[in-house]
């Protein structure tokens, strides 16, 4: 058949989401006892990772600030929050859920600017899931006796919560919603590079008339986090972040009465069997590793593909990767945004270079990366073996290591051959193989014929060095009840 003359290419014109909806102040204080107060000490700058422009000056909470915040939280706990009926607590959380829905666009744009992730994701994933999470836990507040943790379960007290930069607002929701539903009050520290949506959330608490001190937001870096975790009047520590910091927290609270949950790193295997629905598997691989620039603790960073279809899958994967659009996070057609920080970019580059040096073959589609900001193209490494560092260490970026296997048992063996155990993926049209594989995997979340799905009703958390405790679902209540 003859090939007809080609049309002009279908170039998508820029479709930027307007920034005008957000009002970023030049500087921000700390949110303590229902009010914004000036920090007493140092401050730091938060920048846009896609342009490197300074967005705002942020107060750095010191030990005295932390003490004030914990005291406010304790007061609110004792005098108001723990005494309030579950139904009334629930109604506050419903209000928060609704205000987040009402201000969804503002949150989506602000998150995209501060974090560098595409507006498509903040708009369609982060913010709706945040609202859903508050809505879900709002409903638990007056039903705790049905949750299976005793007839009349009680809150713990003050929760100290430290969250990461990859899903700033979503991780805040995962921490605050169950804590409040169960009757606890919180002191939360957002990540140093992404404080803005947490500070906007403080405003939501004000609009919802949440009693002062129930939620306190302290910005800062590692020191601030350490002060919160080690404060003697904190009853519960919840942390999401790296395994190294998680380990340090577990040591720091050893011998105390503090309860701890940790949601840490991962190196998830995404297993593709030869009878997989191939086109959907390719989507799942792409979603698994390139969603949120690969800044996902449960990212499917190790592709384990059955040798008999490896060539076909890789060909389709590469073709698909060529259609990924990397660039301005606020452009509605952007699939992959900016790497969150210079530090993270350096780490991704370093591990990628090690991958090459160790003999793996590196491939990335051609893409024009902006000249300012932090960028890394979607990348895959083939010819990777279990011994390679890129098969073992969490890169936390858009970098996929591809390994092959011959039998289901080999797939499971390789998948489990890691100190991590957060998540895994399975792709096959055979139901019994899905369930067998899932039963063998040492991972807290197993996705079958899908990947990176999150729902407030579904518990999330890891095995082994990926941490302990679950967030989400009925199981997520346990961490905040006694």
């Amino acid at each position: 058949m003859t090939m007809a003359k080609k049309s002009t290419a279908f170039e998508y014109a820029p479709a930027p989401e307007s920034r005008s909806i957000v009002d970023i102040k030049p500087s921000y204080g700390l949110f303590i006892d229902g009010e914004f107060v000036d920090g007493r000490g140092k401050s730091f700058k938060t920048i846009s990772p896609s342009t490197e422009e300074v967005l705002a000056e942020i107060a750095e909470g010191d030990a005295a600030d932390v003490d004030l915040a914990v005291k406010a939280a304790r007061r609110a706990y004792t005098r108001v929050w723990s005494k309030m009926s579950g139904a009334e607590r629930g109604k506050y959380l419903f209000r928060i859920a609704r205000i987040i829905q009402e201000r969804a666009r503002e949150f989506a744009v602000l998150e995209s600017i501060d974090n560098g992730k595409p507006i498509k994701e903040t708009r369609d994933v982060d913010v709706p899931t945040v609202a859903a999470h508050f809505f879900y836990y709002a409903g638990w507040a007056d039903k705790l006796g049905y949750a299976g943790y005793g007839e009349d379960p009680q809150p713990l007290g003050v929760a100290g919560q430290v969250i990461p930069w990859n899903f700033p607002l979503l991780m805040l929701a995962w921490k605050i919603a169950p804590a409040l539903a169960c009757g606890n009050t919180v002191v939360l520290k957002p990540a140093e590079t992404t404080p803005l949506t947490a500070l906007l959330f403080a405003e939501v608490c004000q609009q919802a008339d949440l009693p002062p001190g129930v939620v306190n937001i302290l910005t800062g870096a590692g020191e601030t986090g350490r002060a919160i975790v080690s404060h003697p009047d904190v009853n519960k520590v919840a942390f999401t972040g790296s395994t190294d910091v998680g380990r340090a927290i577990a040591k720091a609270v050893a011998g105390s009465d503090k309860r701890v949950t940790l949601e840490l790193g991962g190196k998830a295997a995404n297993i593709v069997y030869d009878d997989a629905p191939v086109d959907q598997a390719v989507e799942g691989i792409v979603n698994g590793i390139f969603f949120n620039q690969g800044h996902v603790c449960c990212a499917g960073s190790r592709l384990l593909v059955q040798e008999s279809i490896a060539e076909e899958v890789l060909a389709k994967l590469k073709r698909r990767m060529k259609t990924l659009r990397v660039g301005d996070p606020l452009d509605k057609n952007t699939d992959i945004g900016a790497i969150n920080s210079a530090e993270q970019l350096a780490k991704i580059r370093e591990l990628s270079e090690i991958g090459e040096a160790e003999g793996a073959e590196r491939w990335a589609p051609k893409c024009d990366l902006p000249s300012t900001g932090f960028w890394f193209p979607p990348t895959i490494f083939t010819g990777v073996s279990q011994a390679h560092r890129i098969a073992r260490e969490e890169i936390f970026g858009p970098v996929l290591s591809v390994l092959t296997f011959r039998t289901p048992k080999e797939a499971v063996e390789k998948a489990n051959n890691t100190p991590f155990g957060l998540s895994a993926g399975i792709w096959t049209e055979k139901g019994s193989l899905i369930l067998w594989t899932a039963s063998q995997l040492r991972a807290g979340v197993v996705w079958s014929n899908t990947f990176n799905r999150f729902d407030p009703a579904s518990p999330f958390g890891g095995y082994k060095e990926s941490g302990y405790g679950r967030e989400g679902g009925r199981h997520g209540l346990e961490a905040y009840l006694r």
């Binding site: 139904a87 859903a132 879900y136 409903g139 638990w140 039903k143 369930l435 067998w436 009703a457």
Partner: protein, 286 residues
Amino acid sequence: MSARLDVKKTYKLYIGGDFPRSESGRSYVVNDAKGRFLANASQASRKDARDAVRAARTAFPGWSGKTAYNRGQVVYRIAEVLESRRDQFEAELRSSEGVTAAKARDFVSAAIDRLVFYAGWADKIAQVTGGANPVAGPYFNHSAPEPSGVVAVVAPKGPLLGLVSVVAPVITTGNTCVVIASEPHPLTSITLAEVMATSDLPGGVVNVLTGSVAEIAPWLASHLDVNGLDLTGVTDADLARTLEESAAENLKRVRRPGLEDLLAAPPLDRMTKFLETKTVWHPMGL
């Protein structure tokens, strides 16, 4: 200058999202607590009941097929809209039932909070009543609740809190229903239907009939396309027994008469009575 004359509302039925008059063309007089005329309420016939069942059945696949999260949002929306019109409901309760202002406020608050309570149950009931079953073999085995289908409900007295207390648990889990409002005080139930009709609740999920329980209920109890029967509001023991017998013909799930203290926490069986449990087995193997 003469005083302005009120424009009075015609109280009709609520079927399939619309507000039709009874096909029979009948109505009955509803008086206020002091015996003064309030309005003519539609007096539903067996054909209205039939139409209502058809509307409920038509709405069932869509409503039960929504995500639990979505159903929860809709039920919560009913609470929001009810709260925004609480003055009207308080006034209606005071005039129709003769309760004090404080009592009326409590009833309206309790009705709103009850809706919020059930909104939260939508995506939790499965987590409380379902789960994994550790069978002794290489099988994945999992149970989850599913709605029974169309439920006919006889509401107790208390046109607001009473109706909400029996309807909300039934629809939250995905059933659709036909409810016979409190016979002597039906008007506020129709006003509540206006709230439901403007709260993103799909037409046909709740259908409200006003009229004689003794006349309509037997047709619903014997209707073969009705899956459940809630007799909460039936006060005549003989009628209740007859209805239950009739319901046995196609083995409807029946909740017997009897009303808990409406201001206390509701019993779980208001939901579970009209839920089926589905258990799925699947082998695990290579």
